[in-house]
Amino acid sequence: MTLTPKKQQEIEAVARQIRVDIVEMVHAAACGHPGGPLGMADFMATLWVEHMGIEPGNLHDPKRDRFVLGNGHTCAGLYAVLAHKGIIPREMLKSFRKLGSPLQGHPHKNPELGIDMSTGSLGTGLSTAQGMALAAKINGWPTRVYVTSSDGESEEGQIWEAATSAAHYGLANLTVLVDFNNIQIDGVMREVMDVRDLREKYAAFGWHAIDVDGHDIAAIDAALCAAREETARPSALICHTTIGKGVSFMEGKASWHGVAPNDAEAQEALAELSV
């Protein structure tokens, strides 16, 4: 099933809106992580518009799909997409990272807001998503569980514990989307700690693993369709992305991992994104 041009345009528009929201949220909070979620915006938009079965009307349906943001620091992107879905009130985005806000600096589980798991400490998301997928399998539910991860997070040993057991239990209802932008906090991945070929690694662990251009919406959609058709193995989409994508002065720069834009930078970024 290929995307119609109309659907493709819709996803592109959502991705652009997510990017605008990320810049505005991180700027308003005067802190946070803009680079990662900007890079993930295209695959997050494709996933949530076309594949994810989480809607305002089914939030409390136990059989609905689940989502875990393994690389929790990129939550500005998750909050933006949940706002697009009408699950988080748009007004609430302004409270990101502020006292009393449910939109914490790293996601905190909140059944009312569609936040299915608390994350923040890298390495734990794949395990929790696996537990959800296992429960759905035990119950015979159609639930699919999507979890994001990253190249940096793949340095955590627990990721490979979970990769081992998810394959062992044949959790075909589990899909991980790995944001591979070649950047981690301390610099370029190859210099800090090279995780090498993640597709090969996941495949060696018994997963259905695919390399995909993380900014090619049609390719992402096709990979997500392939994951849904897989019946025996969990799927790993290694999404090759550019950190800071869409904001020229942030693209490819490790320095934008966890720094908020100042007023002038935010203005410039929003001008670029609104073109």
Binding site: V68, M117, S121, T128, Q130, G131, A135, G157, Q158, Y169
Partner: protein
């Protein structure tokens, strides 16, 4: 204040327990007998030279301590709390189809194998990967399952501490961490396996409830209570067979301490295997004219404030005993509570800032000052401070 029904604690009732019921094992009721049989419990009818000191895993080759060898040897029934865990889990599996059990390649030792054999579709071996096991447990719980996750205490509480914090306690999920082989009584495996820091690591976590059953009867009741409780729980269980203390009429409630011996000269507050030692110490002290109150503090968190404040006010001195570091466990929790609400002289009996070593359980309890004689001795110190 709750007063426990005492079944047996290894020594004859002298002086008689006020309000407590001490019955010899000959009077065992069918229900208890059934449990003991299910647990494969042995009954000692040893002579004066080889009976366990209060059933305390005594190595027959060791010299019997004078004070206990003069007492009439009773029959002592012993059982391991981990065995009771296995039995309780298998029973709960019948009642609640939502119960899922995870283990990290130690199901034979932790006794989750009993459940695995009865309910193979609801048991998942996660391999030697404790952190992933805790995260998986959290995910299952987030979907509505009641999840029991087991390993040795060292690995469950130690190795997987941070995933427990992030994935179980922060989202406040219904995961029951039942950790066996806690403390020095692991014995010969030595310090790498003798978890003496788990109570500190677990009670410091918000949302976590921490329980240390004193015997197999209490362990079984605690597991039932834990299954019905909504939220994260850590249950500390032992490898070694320890004396069966409670009667099957005993009522366990999370967060409630129980007085198991009346007295007003000082209060001995103990948990886990140390309850037997405290009861034996109370008898040693009784022979010296000191009447010790003994309290079983099975729930370390939340602490039973009422029973502790009453003990401090009535007795004026409190000794705590645990098979754990003296820093960060029961003693720390009780001290902190009483410092606020009823300051009295306190003596904390625990391992004093050191790791253990390889030896028999009984040798280790003696060497590290956790046996009845040590508790009696520290009680005398405490009484001197109280009366100074």
């Amino acid at each position: 204040m709750a007063q426990a029904n005492l079944r047996y604690f290894g020594l004859p009732p002298s002086p008689p327990l006020i309000g407590a019921r001490l019955r010899p094992p000959q009077g065992t009721r069918p229900a208890l007998q059934e449990l003991l049989e299910a647990l494969g419990t042995s009954e000692y009818n040893a002579g004066p030279d080889q009976r366990p000191s209060a059933g305390f895993f005594r190595n027959p080759s060791l010299p019997i301590r004078r004070v206990t060898s003069t007492l009439t040897p009773p029959a002592v029934q012993v059982a391991a709390t981990r065995d009771a865990y296995g039995v309780a889990l298998a029973e709960l599996g019948k009642d609640n189809p939502e119960i899922i059990v995870l283990d990290a390649d130690l199901s034979g030792s932790t006794r989750t194998k009993t459940f695995a054999q009865a309910f193979p579709k609801r048991f998942f071996n996660m391999g030697v990967a404790e952190s992933n096991m805790m995260g998986t447990a959290a995910g299952l719980a987030a979907m509505g399952k009641v999840v029991f996750a087991s390993s040795f205490a060292m690995f469950a509480a130690g190795k997987a501490w941070e995933p427990i914090r992030q994935t179980v306690c922060i989202p406040n999920l219904n995961v029951k961490i039942c950790a066996t082989h806690a403390g020095l009584t692991v014995g010969e495996d030595g310090k790498s396996h003798q978890m003496l820091e788990d109570l500190a690591l677990m009670q410091v976590l918000p949302n976590m409830t921490v329980i240390v059953p004193a015997d197999s009867i209490e362990a079984k009741l605690a597991i039932r209570a834990v299954a019905a409780h909504d939220g994260p729980v850590y249950v500390r269980l032992s490898r070694a067979k320890t004396p069966v203390i409670f009667d099957e009429d005993y009522v366990f409630k999370i967060g409630r301490g129980t007085q198991v011996r009346a007295g007003n000269d000082l209060a001995l507050v103990a948990c886990g295997v140390e309850l037997s030692a405290a009861l034996e110490a109370a008898e040693i002290l009784a022979a010296e004219g000191v009447n010790a109150r003994v309290i079983n503090m099975a729930t370390i968190k939340p602490l039973d404030k009422d029973i502790l404040v009453a003990a401090a006010r009535d007795c004026g001195a409190v000794l705590t005993a645990e098979e754990h570091q003296a820093i960060g466990g029961l003693g720390s929790a009780v001290s902190q509570l009483l410092a606020h609400h009823a300051p009295v002289p306190i003596e904390v009996v625990g391992v004093r800032d050191s790791f253990g070593e390889s030896a028999t359980a009984d040798q280790l309890l003696e060497k590290y000052g956790l046996d009845a004689q040590s508790i009696a001795s520290r009680s005398r110190d405490l009484l001197r401070r109280k009366n100074a």
